[in-house]
């Protein structure tokens, strides 16, 4: 592992952000295509990506916009789908060093996504603001550019290619969680538990009506809670 002053820098944040940004290109590309196919202008699709920076929330958002949903429904849907970011933000506050002033927190919290969070929390030491600014830069622009390209290319892309690209983001998630699960039996147990609950919630009648955002929150609370109960980690966030 790198030493603190090497890895806690803007450049190393940029480097860590490149794979995330490339992964985002494909997902936001799909978002751009979908937004335009649903009748939104290209620049509106890009505006949504640049102000929201969230995959599930944006996909739900365009369908609510097109359905002419009431504002309160839009607000509640976004709250439920994106509430998991609160858990991530809270988790990250335990890994931030003294450089995180209130102003930096106000700016940097905008860039917390699933992948940014996963990479930042995977660092063996506390992170500083320079690293965090670096980490969110490439994903942010990757997300915006991918949306623009997808919206502009529209339906030019063959179905076979876009189908293949849909799996990219999940491949990345697996690459984040499997290596630590190899080394830690408790991490492995938490993952298996969370995945099991997720399967149950998706395939049990009635329960499968829960929104995607709620499913993630329930899985996170239950699996992490049981993990903390049975496998307390002593050396966390030192």
């Amino acid at each position: 592992m790198d030493t603190d002053n090497i890895s806690n820098s803007f450049i190393s944040g940029i480097k860590d952000g490149i794979p995330i940004g490339l992964g985002y290109l494909s997902v936001s590309f799909t978002f751009g295509i979908m937004a335009v196919n649903s009748g939104l202008p290209v620049w509106i699709a890009v505006l949504i990506s640049m102000t929201n920076l969230t995959s599930a929330g944006q996909f739900a958002g365009i369908s609510l916009i097109n359905a002419g949903a009431p504002y309160i429904e839009m607000a509640l849907a976004q709250l439920v789908i994106n509430l998991r970011y609160s858990l991530m933000s809270l988790s990250l506050t335990q890994k931030t060093d003294k450089s995180f002033s209130t102003l930096h927190r106000l700016i940097l919290s905008f860039g917390i996504t699933d992948e940014v969070f996963a990479v930042a929390s995977g660092k063996p030491h506390d992170i500083d603001t320079k690293y965090m600014y670096g980490l969110i830069t490439v994903p942010y622009w990757g997300w915006a550019m991918g949306t623009l390209l997808g919206a502009a290319a529209g339906s030019i892309l063959p179905e076979s290619v876009s189908s293949a690209m849909n799996i990219a983001i999940y491949g990345m998630f697996l690459a984040i969680i499997i290596p630590p699960a190899k080394k830690s039996r408790s991490v492995l147990c938490v993952i298996i538990l969370s995945v099991t609950i997720s399967f149950i919630l998706h395939y049990t009648p009635y329960l499968n009506r829960l929104s995607e955002g709620f499913v993630i929150i329930i899985c996170a609370l239950a699996a992490s809670g049981l993990g903390a109960l049975f496998f307390p980690v002593k050396e966390v966030a030192e």
Binding site: L90, S91, S109, I167, G171, V190, S198, A228, V233
Partner: protein
């Protein structure tokens, strides 16, 4: 009005990220909560991946092939990008073979 919709989306999404970050500034002492927050990323990413990954592509077979390759490469600790692109490639090839076989 589309701009109000977008404004609501952006504001709600920002608030759920920003508020915990700005409100909680101290290191948490409780071992339980520290452990809980340590496990959150794994639980979140696990439940976001499964079962969604199995329905992400246009065929369950290609999704399973892509998943197996991603799990194997991740187990070999390949980079994020290698794992992601390899699973895309395997999905593409699998769907191409399926079309040849007319499945």
């Amino acid at each position: 009005m589309i701009f109000i919709h977008i404004l609501i989306m952006a504001t709600v999404t920002y608030m759920v990220r920003m508020l915990p970050m700005v409100i909680f500034k101290k290191k948490i002492e409780s071992d339980f909560i520290k452990s809980f927050l340590y496990y959150v990323p794994y639980a979140v990413l696990g439940s976001m991946t499964f079962p969604a990954i199995l329905t992400a592509t246009s065929s369950t077979y290609s999704a399973i092939a892509g998943t197996i390759v991603a799990v194997l490469l991740a187990f070999m600790e390949k980079s994020l990008l290698t794992v992601a692109l390899s699973s895309c490639l395997v999905v593409y090839i699998t769907e191409w073979i399926l079309r040849l076989l007319n499945l």
